[in-house]
Symmetry: C2
Subunit: 185 residues, 2 copies
DNA sequence: AGCAAGAATGTACGTTCGTACGCTCTCGAG
DNA sequence: CTCGAGAGCGTACGAACGTACATTCTTGCT
């Protein structure tokens, strides 16, 4: 139609549609045409708004990581002591697992890209750094790194084995990893 | 050429080539033609030996998980006490990270498929079960689950952040997660 | 030697893909 | 009212894809 109208929402809609499509069919299933159909925009818009598929994927995943970091922030800002922080981390893990498989799927897709391509690895590194900043508000740097890894592993295993793991199990693991040496408060 | 000769190595070569290709270009980059070229077999062999691409991917990943489980076995069979077992686990983690990025990449690719498709999820579940059997030779079931998750997370984070983490750091994390309650020998 | 069986292959078809590019349409300045 | 400028779009092209299937070749039996 060529409205001639500058439409700033167009770009956003395309990015949102891209994430939805990745969640449904994976990065492998992404194509300009499918995204366009899902976003309700013409095919020509794809190359107009984005330099290419890769450009689009990077923007989409940046959006996604921003959302997850916001989740870390929301959970880890409130607690004021170590005990609360541990509970908050356990809550966070269950929040990540909670709703749909969507977040898990998107995370995996991103990691897969990152494992092979440095451009995406930069994204995951920044993500990890930002998450860790939140954890370091409550734990020392070494513990934060270990805890971060544990969160990753628990989330992943829980999602791949559908044996449900309850909150107590998670909290126990978090407590162990954040308990240093022979003693702990 | 149609040698008419039954060649049992043919199938193996195709599977090996598939894993190599996935490691290099990802599941998204897999095609009958590329695999055939890499394995040095004609395109027609693809549909002859495998029902389709999906069939081939499943067989390839089964081969891969078998190899990793063997690695678990090799590391976790020898130790006889808890301390040795902890060291063995730390060694195992560094072995997983050790050589190339290949194993990490393949693992991610598999998880990505598993996150969305039950047929592949069955594969990861079986894999987890078999790994855990090895861990449970040295640790109680709950600890084994937590440790398994930790191994996953440490491996992944180490690979995505290229900040190197040394053996001492890994052993410390393993020790924490395998130390229950307030005290431990 | 001749031949049936079936292992292995080459090729061709219909689809889908990313992207380039010439075109249309709207808007604000004059 | 006129008319650039540039935002936005439809289409077409070449390449790559998965798969089916007719065909070729070897082998073991008679």
């Amino acid at each position: 139609m060529a409205t001639g109208h500058t439409d700033p929402q167009r770009r956003e809609r395309i990015i949102a549609a891209t994430l939805d499509l990745i969640a449904d069919e994976g990065v492998a299933g992404v194509s300009h045409r499918k995204i366009a159909a899902r976003a309700g925009v013409p095919l020509g818009s794809m190359t107009y708004h984005f330099r290419g598929i890769d450009d689009l994927l990077r923007e989409a995943f940046r959006r996604f990581t921003d959302d997850i970091v916001a989740l870390f922030d929301a959970h880890l800002a409130p607690p004021t002591d170590r005990g609360q922080a541990r509970t908050a981390v356990a809550d966070l893990i269950h929040a990540l697992l909670g709703g749909s498989r969507r977040d898990l799927v998107l995370t995996q897709e991103l990691y897969t890209l990152a494992a092979r391509r440095p451009a995406y690895r930069a994204l995951t590194q920044e993500w990890m750094t930002r998450s860790r900043v939140h954890l370091e508000r409550h734990f020392d740097p070494v513990t934060a790194r270990q805890l971060d890894a544990l969160i990753e592993g628990l989330t992943l295993h829980r999602a791949l084995a559908q044996e449900s793991q309850d909150h107590a199990f998670t909290l126990e693991a978090v407590t162990r990893i954040t308990t240093t040496g022979r003693r702990a408060p």
